[in-house]
């Protein structure tokens, strides 16, 4: 009887472990992301040399860390809730705005042609030596070419347009430059990535390099790749920009965060993007 009791206790604890395992699967690395039935996405890629093995052999899209239902939403543009935002941006693309009487299309033509591959190499250093994200290029067009108002970095018109532009690179490998004029920005971003901010003294690396695959409460820590941005976050019911996500992470270390669109997050964006060189551009992706 005693033995039986012990045996059933062991069985019960095995069951608990099995259940915990079911609820908290490691990233499902066998899952394949195919969008609309024909666009095969590179969600696991050989790690860029500059990482020097920090993430092991491969870099992995955050898509693999999400539950099956969330992953499914990204496989079909009719299910992807970001696509209504893209539709709004496509309408804006063709709409004249500002004192010069121009639309985006007047200079860039069809977005499918004019913006193809653009997101894959952003952020990048301009001829004038500034590190620019998609948002900077968009506002430069709006204010200097169109004579229109700049869009707020983190409001819908801008997020929608960055999603529509990212879509024109979907499936192409992230390929940001980190050498030459980009090198000092990249170094700045790398230093930030390993700096332990805030009262909690946490760096990006503490969670996304040392602990990806583990959980903080119910949050499954991924590698923190940004190839899927802007992302549609189900909990926000809307698009989230790269800098918004950075600001949230730094805030959650109980730190004074950095400003969206500021020089620090530009540098961090370049560095984090470079950690995903080789992954397919997934924007706009779907995350919990």
């Amino acid at each position: 009887m005693r033995i039986r009791a012990k045996h059933s206790a062991a069985l019960a604890s095995a069951l608990v472990i099995a259940l915990a395992g079911a609820a908290r699967a490691e990233p499902d690395l066998d899952a394949k992301l195919v969008i609309n039935g024909d666009l095969e996405m590179t969600t696991i890629a050989p790690a860029p040399a500059h990482l020097e093995g920090a993430l092991g052999d491969n870099v992995i899209s955050g898509w693999h860390y999400r539950d099956a239902a969330t992953r499914q939403m990204e496989t079909d543009d009719f299910e992807n809730p970001a696509m209504s935002a893209v539709d709004e941006a496509l309408a804006a693309w063709d709409t004249v705005d500002g004192s010069e009487g121009k639309s985006c299309a007047d200079c860039h033509g069809a977005i499918e042609e004019g913006m193809k591959g653009v997101t894959a190499v952003l952020p990048k250093v301009t001829e004038a030596g500034a590190l620019w994200s998609a948002e900077d290029f968009i506002n430069d067009c709006r204010t200097n070419r169109m004579g229109a108002e700049a869009w707020d970095w983190d409001k819908d018109p801008m997020k929608n347009m960055t999603a529509a532009i990212a879509l024109q690179s979907r499936g192409m490998p992230v390929n940001v430059a980190i050498d030459g004029a980009a090198a000092p920005f990249w170094e700045q971003g790398k230093e930030m990535y390993y700096t332990r901010y805030g009262l909690l003294q946490l760096s990006c690396a503490n969670c996304h390099e040392q602990n990806n695959g583990n959980y903080i409460r119910a949050d499954h820590l991924s590698q923190g790749q940004i190839n899927g941005f802007p992302v549609f976050r189900l909990k926000n019911d809307g698009l989230v920009s790269i800098h918004n996500r950075f600001a949230g992470c730094v805030r959650d270390t109980r730190a004074e965060t950095f400003s969206k669109g500021g020089p620090e997050f530009h540098a961090l964006e370049l560095y984090v993007a470079s950690r995903g060189n080789g992954l397919a551009v997934e924007g706009p992706s779907v995350r919990p």
Binding site: T195, Y197, G198, L199, Q201, N211, R217, A218, T253, E256
Partner: protein, 162 residues
């Protein structure tokens, strides 16, 4: 110690910010191994308050990173840190105090936050607002909250998982 506390408590009524029985964060005495022998408050810890603290998102939030049999009813404990089941068989009171006050003195470079520490804080914020801190001397937990957590952890004397 108790006498000191009574003295401190009396003083607090008139000079709350100047005199307190609590050991200030920068006055905590660490042994070479990172342990802290002396109670931070002189008041025995309360394990019930410790459990509330450990499982509350806005306070200690130990469950964010640790599984423990002692809080098995908490939803979705994390696993960034080690399981704390049976931890009282691994570390004594002084070691637990040292780890909670400033984990880095025991485990160099550990991810674990230092819960009663003011040093080496980069860009301190005002709670979780993302804004700059309004006071330079805020710790994650109070001295008594640390003592309450120690009291809780000392009850975690289950056999260690194999």
């Amino acid at each position: 110690m108790r006498k000191l506390f009574v003295l401190g408590a009396a003083a607090m009524m008139t000079l709350p910010s100047v005199l307190s029985a609590d050991t200030a964060p920068r006055d905590v005495a660490f042994a070479d191994d990172g342990s802290v022998a002396e109670s931070l408050t002189g008041v025995a810890g309360d394990p019930t308050a410790g459990l509330e603290n450990a499982t509350s998102r806005g306070i200690g939030n130990c469950v964010a990173c640790h599984v423990a049999e002692g809080w098995k009813d908490a939803a979705f404990p994390g696993n960034v840190g080690p399981a704390l089941t049976g931890i009282a068989n691994v570390y004594d009171e002084s070691q637990l105090r040292g780890i909670l006050v400033n984990s880095k003195k025991t485990f160099e470079g550990t991810v674990m936050p230092s819960f009663y520490n003011l040093d080496d804080i980069i860009r301190p914020g005002d709670a979780y607002t993302g804004k700059a801190a309004t006071s330079p001397d805020v710790t994650i937990l109070t001295a008594q909250q640390i003592e309450d957590l120690i009291a809780l952890l000392l009850t975690f004397d289950e056999p260690l998982p194999e």
